[in-house]
């Protein structure tokens, strides 16, 4: 009998122990599962952030490429602008020389030479997309003309260009130098 009770006690103890162990294992399982889930959440968040950064970096790269391409095209189109701007006073001087009232045959010959040189010069810069702005008798347009004076002229409407003091030039649509003009103003 005693042996039976002892055996039963032992069984109960071991059952209790295994039960306790089960409980502990379950607790461990629950806590480690929770930890793992939290870890997964954090990693997912990090992954999202990394993905967003990558996409933004790719978009930035694309924009930089587009801007670089645009800059290359613009540089090609307007590369001569500064050079032409520096040469314009030479053209202006030649054109003024052609307006001089030459008297002697020698002066007339020189003037003819200057006229031909000026025409040649204008032809060359025209090939590179440089266009003259000579707005005589046109409506004043501040996009291309600069008003330096206003004069009354009853033969013209208000706001018209009555005289061009200095021709303007543009290269491929961009102003190199605005034409300096006198604008009519009738009171």
């Amino acid at each position: 009998m005693n042996e039976k009770n002892h055996a039963t006690n032992i069984e109960d103890t071991s059952t209790q122990e295994s039960h306790n162990e089960d409980l502990k294992t379950k607790e461990l399982d629950v806590s480690s599962t929770k930890e793992l889930e939290d870890k997964i959440k954090a990693l997912k968040k990090d992954l999202d952030t990394a993905n967003k950064s990558t996409l933004m970096a790719l978009a930035d790269l694309e924009n930089i490429k587009k801007r670089a391409e645009k800059r290359i095209i613009e540089n090609h189109k307007y590369s001569l602008k500064s050079f032409i701007e520096a040469l314009l006073p030479v053209l202006d001087s030649m054109e003024k020389a052609t307006l001089f009232n030459a008297q002697s045959s020698e002066s007339i010959a020189i003037q003819e030479g200057i006229k031909m040189t000026s025409k040649n010069f204008s032809g060359i810069i025209d090939k590179f997309g440089v266009r003259e702005i000579n707005p005589i008798n046109e409506l004043f347009d501040p996009e291309k003309h600069e008003a330096v004076s206003m004069l009354s002229d009853n033969n013209m409407d208000n706001g018209m260009v009555s005289k061009v003091l200095q021709k303007g030039y543009e290269i491929n649509g961009r102003i190199v130098r605005a034409a300096r003009v006198i604008v009519t103003q009738n009171n």
Binding site: I64, Y78, A147, I175
Partner: protein, 137 residues
């Protein structure tokens, strides 16, 4: 990272720069210039002109062309500097607002110096910055 744009709103000229590949880069305006005159004009057909275009028509539209507007910001109309140096020397009308500030009158309408004019000049510079980055206006 958000877009970064820097505007130097000067008394005579303004300049705008953007951050491009982590470096500042000055942006050219529509005429290819790296600075833009701080001039704003209101044309007869209600168009607002800014920069070089506004400067070129100063003579034909002097009363509605505003320049050196920064000199008026933060000052009262009764200020000695305003009365001596500005009111009598500029082509546009400098007037007194309800609280005594120096404002500008254009086409019969009083305008605050900082809000209306500087905003329009800054807006133009921002547009240059956006176009430079390949964005729409």
């Amino acid at each position: 990272m958000g877009k970064i744009i820097g505007i130097d709103l000067g008394t005579t000229n303004s300049c705008v720069a953007i951050i491009d590949s982590r470096l500042p880069k000055v942006v050219e305006n529509s005429e290819g210039a790296r600075t833009t005159p701080s001039v704003i004009a209101y044309s007869e057909n209600k168009e607002i002109l800014v920069g070089h275009v506004a400067k070129r028509q100063t003579l034909t539209n002097s009363k509605n062309t505003v320049y050196a507007i920064k000199r008026l910001i933060g000052r009262k109309f009764s200020d000695k500097v305003i009365q001596k140096d500005i009111v009598k020397k500029v082509s546009y009308k400098v007037t007194e607002s309800d609280n005594g500030d120096a404002w500008v009158e254009i086409k019969g309408q009083k305008n605050s110096t900082s809000s209306s004019f500087c905003r329009n000049i800054k807006e133009n510079e921002k547009i240059c910055g956006r176009l430079s980055r390949g964005e729409s206006r």
